[in-house]
Symmetry: C2
Subunit: 254 residues, 2 copies
C-alpha cells in the first residue's frame, strides 16, 4: 500500500514544486519506489525532472481524457526508483471539463488506484489555487504537506488553507491528515524569517517539521538542469535539508 501525500498551498511561489521534486528524490535515493504526479498546468515538477511538458504527449491530461493508458502515462526519470506522471498546460481545461462529472473530486484517485500497489510513495504537486485539480489531489491523499515561506503574506493564507482542509476532511476525504508544515526559503539573517517561523511554531505546534529548508541558490539552479538538487550538488545546504526532511517524513509515517 502506498502513502499518498499532497503538497499544497494556494499561496504562490512557496516551494511546493521544489519540495515535491527534492523530497521525492531523497526518498528515491533511500530506494523507496516513488511517483510524482504533476497536477499543475505550469508543469514545473515535470521540467524540474528533465521532462519537457510541451514535447511529451504522455501526461496527466492525455491520461484523463483517455488518449493513453495508465502504463503509458507513468514515465521513468533519469533517477532510479523515481517515476513521473507529467503535467501539461492543457490541465487548465480539465478543471472545467471535470465540473460536469458527478463525483468530480474523486476522479484522480479512482484513476490512479491501480498504481498504489506499485509505489511506496505517491506525491501530488499542486497548483497555487484551491480549484478542482488541488481538490482532486487532496481527495486522493491520506496526508498533506504544507510548504510555507517565512514571509508575512504566507501567514495570511494559512487560515484560508486550513478552512479548505477542514471542508475536504468533512466532506470529501475524512482520512486526510496534515503530515506537517514545512518552513521554506528560511534566511537566518532576516528578522522576518525568524518572526514568522516562531509564529508557525506557536500556531501549529508539533505539526511543524523540525527540518527547515534554507534559502539556497542550488535549489533554484537545479531545475534549469532538469535535476533534483541532490543530483546537481549533493553537498549543498538545500540537498542536505531535503534528505533530512525525507528521514523526518518516514519517522512520522511509522
Amino acid at each position: 500500500m502506498s502513502k499518498k501525500i499532497a503538497i499544497a498551498n494556494q499561496k504562490g511561489g512557496v516551494g511546493k514544486t521544489t519540495t515535491a521534486i527534492n523530497l521525492a528524490a531523497s526518498l528515491a535515493v533511500m530506494e523507496r519506489k516513488v511517483l510524482v504526479v504533476d497536477c499543475d498546468p505550469q508543469a514545473n515538477a515535470s521540467s524540474g525532472l528533465g521532462i519537457e511538458p510541451n514535447e511529451n504527449p504522455n501526461n496527466l491530461y492525455t491520461l484523463c481524457s483517455e488518449q493513453i493508458s495508465l502504463e503509458e502515462a507513468v514515465l521513468p526519470t533519469d533517477f532510479p526508483f523515481l517515476s513521473l506522471l507529467a503535467g501539461h498546460p492543457n490541465l487548465v481545461g480539465l478543471e472545467i471539463e471535470l465540473l460536469d462529472f458527478e463525483k468530480r473530486e474523486y476522479y484522480l484517485s479512482n484513476l490512479l488506484k491501480p498504481l498504489e500497489e506499485e509505489f511506496e510513495y505517491i506525491f501530488f504537486d499542486c497548483p497555487p489555487s484551491l480549484g478542482l485539480l488541488t481538490l482532486n489531489a487532496l481527495a486522493g491523499s491520506e496526508y498533506l504537506i504544507i510548504p510555507i515561506q517565512c514571509e508575512y503574506f504566507a501567514l495570511e493564507g494559512i487560515a484560508h488553507l486550513l478552512r479548505t482542509y477542514e471542508k475536504v476532511k468533512k466532506g470529501i476525504n475524512p482520512r486526510l491528515e496534515i503530515l506537517g508544515v514545512l518552513r521554506t526559503m528560511y534566511d537566518k539573517r532576516i528578522n522576518l524569517s525568524q518572526q514568522v517561523s516562531e509564529e508557525l511554531e506557536k500556531f501549529f505546534g508539533p505539526k511543524v517539521f523540525q527540518t527547515i529548508i534554507p534559502r539556497n541558490v542550488r535549489l533554484s539552479e537545479a531545475p534549469s538542469h532538469g535535476k533534483p538538487a541532490l543530483a546537481y550538488d549533493i553537498r549543498s545546504l538545500g540537498s542536505i535539508a531535503y534528505l533530512n526532511l525525507a528521514k523526518e517524513v518516514e519517522k512520522r509515517l511509522v
Copy 2:
C-alpha cells in the same frame, strides 16, 4: 479617462501583489488618483494596504453579488490619492458563479465602468492562475504588466502566459497591450538572476522595463505593517526602484 492596467502572471510568488501595491503608491505620491482592485481570493493587496479582508464586508465579492453599491466598495486607504477595492476569500466562489453568465469575461469591466472618470489609474492585482478572475482583469484592461522573477521556472511559464495574452487579445479584448515585463527579486550576486535577466531581454527586447526590482527585505517587511514600502522605509532600494518604475510607466503611456 483612466489607464487600466492588469498585473498578471500565473506563476506564483513572482511579485504581482508587491508590484500592485508599490507601483500604485508611487503614482499616488506623484498625486495621480489611483485605484487598486484586488482580484485575488488571498486578498494580499488589501492587507498590504492595511485593510483586513475578513473584517471588511465592503469588497469585490459583495459588490459582484450586489450586496453593496460601487460607492461603498471603493475604500479610502491611509495614503492620499490611493483607494482600494478589496479582495476576499469568497472570490473563489465567484469564479464558479460567473461560469453561467453570458459575457462572463466582461463582468468586471462593465461593473467598474463608472469609476473610469474618477481615477487616472486602475490596477488589477491578479491571482496566480488563468481562471475567470484573471480573464476579467485582462478583459477590462488596456495594458498588462508581467512581473517575472529572475528564476528558471519563471522562464518556463512565459510561453503559457503569452498564449493566453494572444487568446485574450484575439477573442476578448483587442486593445490589450503588454506595457512591459518587470524583473523582480533580482539578486546581482546570483548568476541565475543575471542569466534569466539576459534571456528576458533577448526574448522581449524593448518591452522589458529598464527598472529592475532588487530582492530587498524592506519590500517583504512592509506588508506586515499594512503599508507600501515607501511609507515604511522611503530610503530602501525597494522603494526607490518602484518610484523609478512609476516614472518609466508614465513615460511609456505618453
